[in-house]
């Protein structure tokens, strides 16, 4: 394949043009910061606590997992993911006592709050991990993403 160097040069040229186009595109649209703060993303923190981060699909597929809503009771009463128990981060000791039986028998515990920007789910995950519970799941999208996407959720996925 004697023309391979020419093909390689051409491919490198295509990549260079693509990078230039990407830079120009982001300068014009400003869609992304050049350096994202991914080290401090909520899912990074949840992983550090030993929890597995799941997407909306992961939430729907983990049908056997106990769902905990870490937001305030008022927010929970206003709307929550089907099947979730209220487990406010601010009242976690009381909530833990209230749901002790369900927690000890759970095959997976999934925690969420409003969005990746909220802190309550991480607080509850930290609390649950400190009690020795394992198989913790974290749904970063939270109630906001679920409420936004619920119309597109197939009936067989809902519970």
């Amino acid at each position: 394949m004697k023309d391979f160097p020419a093909i390689l040069r051409c491919a490198a040229g295509l990549v260079a043009v693509a990078v230039a186009a990407a830079v120009a595109d982001n300068c014009v649209r400003g869609a992304l910061p050049w350096r994202g703060d991914w080290e401090n993303h909520a899912e990074t923190k949840a992983r550090a606590l030993g929890a597995k981060a799941v997407t909306l699909r992961g939430l729907l597929d983990a049908k056997e997992a106990l769902r905990l809503d870490a937001r305030s009771r008022a927010a929970y009463d206003a709307g929550h993911i089907p099947g979730a128990l209220s487990f406010p981060a601010a009242d976690r000791d009381e909530a833990f006592a209230e749901h002790a039986a369900a927690l000890s028998g759970a095959r997976g515990i999934l925690v969420y709050c409003d969005s990746p920007a909220c802190d309550e789910a991480l607080q509850v995950l930290q609390f649950l991990a400190s009690t020795g519970l394992t198989n913790l799941l974290y749904y970063a999208g939270g109630w906001e993403e679920y409420a936004r996407e619920k119309e597109s959720i197939a009936p067989e996925d809902a519970r």
Binding site: A18, W38, E43, T55, R57, G141, E145, E149
Partner: protein, 143 residues
């Protein structure tokens, strides 16, 4: 039409179309695509956004080179497509091996998209195979 030329052209057009179609949702929603890249946990945080910016444009140009290019340009497109498929397939295989529950981020950026799995690996293997005729087959006028 020469059978080699036909096979080469069909494979190039098919893979090219797949790459262009894959790039469009990523260009429409860069932030969600950056999140999909982050969830593979393969790149340092500082490089996630840069990769998310560059990848769709590389896919678009690769697809365009495969669809509209001739000779060296088309073969360069096939080489790039094959190289990207190796990278994508390795990333998916690593995420499966590590037990990550993440979407592929290949075509759909919907949060309800199915998790990446063996189907993605098989699909990429077929796409990789389709890159080989336009890359390796020597057409009559190129001899």
């Amino acid at each position: 039409m020469n059978a080699r030329r036909l096979l080469s052209s069909l494979c190039a057009a098919g893979v090219g179309a797949v790459f262009v179609l894959a790039a469009l949702p990523k260009l429409q929603d860069p932030a969600t695509f950056a999140l999909a890249v982050y969830r593979y946990h393969l790149l340092p945080g500082a490089l996630v956004n840069l990769a998310a910016m560059a990848m769709p444009w590389t896919e678009i140009l690769t697809g365009a080179a495969l669809i509209a290019g001739r000779g060296t340009l088309r073969r360069a497109g096939a080489l790039l497509a094959a190289a990207m498929l190796v990278i994508f397939t390795s990333a998916i295989a690593l995420s499966l091996a590590r037990g990550l529950d993440i979407a592929c981020g290949c075509f759909s950026l919907s949060p309800a998209a199915a998790a990446a799995g063996w189907k993605n690996l098989v699909r990429n293997a077929f796409l990789f195979a389709a890159c080989l005729p336009p890359l390796l087959l020597r057409l009559p006028q190129e001899k």
